[in-house]
């Protein structure tokens, strides 16, 4: 009896010594701007052992005040600094701006200009998605998948450099069309490049998407159901990976996209694997779109509408959106009749997808963090504008 009591005493004392409170178990990590796995973005997470229980994103490290700067420049002077949020997808972010300004100032774009705009937009989509895929590879430690997309991306950048004159920040789209026409022999080069790239895409599928380690790290991880995707208002490839076939090019065709026949690529599972597969399928479909565009393009014509030096329109407002690499990119422009806009608001896909980050991270393991975070197709510079 005495022995039992003593035993209980010891156990009770031992438990009191090592008793840990709820507060002691949580550890706060700051996945900050200087981190190999975060980019120019910081989020604070609290981990309980191996599970994440709290996540708070902290953007703003690249907030340069784009919207305020737009109010001090003309409609055309806004193009160079508005394409800097995503410099490697710069055609799409200025495409939507040009569409909105054309509606405000009532400018008609010639047909060949519309085709060239769409062609540059598709080429840029490939360039962006390949960079995203490369960084995804290196986040998961697959350095071959960093080298291969970056190498193939250089070939597309060569095409864009022949077309526009610059590697990444093209300043090619302006309200009224594009700046210059295609050079000689561009179409053959483009078709050859697209044929080569389709062969390479088959190799990507082999080495990356059928890799058992990659599949284990991304299948079943960070599942976003269809209802949650609609409720959170995500966009782009994140939305299409959760089973909703929505693409702005089909829902609300702008320019000549109503004459192009393509299928929306979507998957139903909603996990990280689907979110990494949908941009890959988009790239495959983009190759077909490029071929069709080159086929249907009018052989000659103007590419730019003749404008006054300071185009302006009557007071009004306009909201236009375009499907970029990250999702629907919308511009809300208010004009008050002067050549400078009164208010420009960008609604970017990255900012909307950021809402899914705490939602998906809470409850998942710490080791799954890079594969969830980068699969949300989040580019920090664009979200901060």
């Amino acid at each position: 009896m005495e022995k039992e009591q003593k035993f209980d005493e010891t156990i009770r004392m031992g438990l009191e010594i090592v008793k840990e409170t709820e507060e002691d178990r949580l550890m706060t990590l700051s996945v900050g701007p200087q981190h190999p796995g975060s980019g120019h973005f910081r989020f604070t997470i609290k981990v309980d052992g191996d599970y994440i229980v709290y996540c708070d994103p902290d953007p703003g490290y690249v907030h340069r005040g784009e919207e305020k700067m737009c109010e001090y420049r003309n409609f055309i002077q806004n193009i160079p600094h508005l394409e800097r949020p995503v410099i490697h997808d710069s055609t799409n972010i200025t495409y939507s701006y040009s569409l909105a300004v054309e509606e405000l100032a009532n400018i008609k774009v010639p047909l060949r200009g519309q085709y060239i705009r769409a062609l540059a937009s598709e080429l840029n989509r490939q360039v962006y998605t390949l960079y995203w895929l490369g960084i995804y590879g290196i986040f998961l430690g697959h350095s071959t998948m960093f080298m291969w997309p970056l190498g193939d991306r250089e070939l597309f950048i060569d095409l864009l450099e022949a077309l526009t004159g610059a590697r990444v920040t093209h300043a090619f789209n302006i309200p009224g069309g594009v700046r210059n026409d295609m050079p000689e022999g561009f179409e053959e080069r483009c078709l050859r490049q697209v044929a080569y790239f389709e062969k390479r895409l088959a190799e990507y599928e082999d080495i990356f998407y059928n890799n058992p380690l990659f599949r284990q790290r991304t299948e079943g991880v960070g599942i976003l159901t269809k209802e949650d995707a609609i409720k959170l208002g995500v966009t782009g490839s994140v939305l299409r990976a959760s089973g909703i076939p929505f693409d702005v090019r089909k829902a609300e065709p702008y320019d000549i996209y109503n004459e192009i026949d393509f299928k929306i690529q979507y998957m139903k599972s909603g996990d990280s694997y689907a979110r990494s597969m949908v941009p890959f399928l988009d790239m495959k479909e983009s190759c077909n779109i490029i071929r069709e565009l080159l086929d249907k393009m009018p052989k000659s014509g103007e590419v730019r509408a003749k404008l006054q030096p300071n185009p302006k329109g009557p007071a009004g407002e306009s909201y236009k959106r375009v499907e970029s690499g990250r999702g629907a990119l919308g511009y809300y422009i208010v004009s008050d009749g002067t050549p400078k806009p009164y208010r420009v608001k960008l609604s970017v896909g990255s900012f909307r997808n950021m809402l899914a980050l705490p939602f998906l991270l809470i409850g998942s393991k710490l080791a799954d963090m890079p594969s969830i975070y980068w699969s949300l197709n989040y580019w920090p510079v664009e979200a901060d504008r």
Partner: protein
């Protein structure tokens, strides 16, 4: 597609018909053809809530805009979500009108689940006073507006009652100036 051509036609007609009106006046739809589907959407809202509460600003192909007072916005938003089928907010932003002494907060709403509404964007707007800018939040109805409302708070100073975090988001931690998107905030040198 027809809507594209009719959109440009409609726009040119509206631009010709409306005079040099500033944002405060309602543009009159005199000669242009009101699109039917969008008109029917707006009619449902106007018949449910009276004409005094809901002001229709414009009805264009694909884009519509209504103006409601700040204390009624929650009811109108829940009607739009439950009956009409708009399910998420594409963007939430604010525009500063110092001439009217008001700030206009505008919610662009769209739909993923309904096919006919997927190309429609309904702009639900309200005007709050510039000095006493408070309005109820809509995140209980449209959860996708959460971060956008927080950004509108820090950029324009509009306080959303009921929002869990009316805090600074994108600006640096030691920001001690007025909200930057207000018109009296001049950037350096201009």
């Amino acid at each position: 597609m027809d809507s594209d051509q009719s959109k440009t036609q409609n726009n040119s007609e509206q631009k010709k018909s409306s005079s040099d009106s500033t944002q405060t006046s309602i543009s009159k739809k005199t000669e242009s053809v009101t699109p039917e589907f969008e008109g029917s959407l707006i009619n449902q809202i106007v018949t449910r809530f009276s004409d005094k509460l809901v002001q229709v600003i414009y009805v264009r192909p694909g884009r519509t805009k209504i103006l409601v007072p700040p204390n009624e916005i929650v009811q109108v938003a829940s009607f739009i979500k439950d009956r009409l089928g708009f399910d998420h907010a594409e963007s939430v932003s604010g525009t500063d009108y110092p001439n009217d002494n008001q700030i206009e907060v505008i919610y662009h709403l769209s739909s993923y689940s309904d096919d006919k509404l997927s190309s429609q964007i309904l702009a639900l707007t309200t005007r709050v006073d510039r000095n006493e800018s408070r309005m109820p939040t809509l995140i209980n109805i449209f959860k996708s507006a959460e971060y956008h409302e927080r950004e509108t708070f820090e950029m324009l100073g509009v306080y959303f009652e009921g929002h869990p975090r009316n805090e600074r988001f994108l600006l640096p931690e030691d920001w001690a100036d007025i909200p930057p998107l207000r018109k009296e905030f001049r950037i350096k040198g201009r």
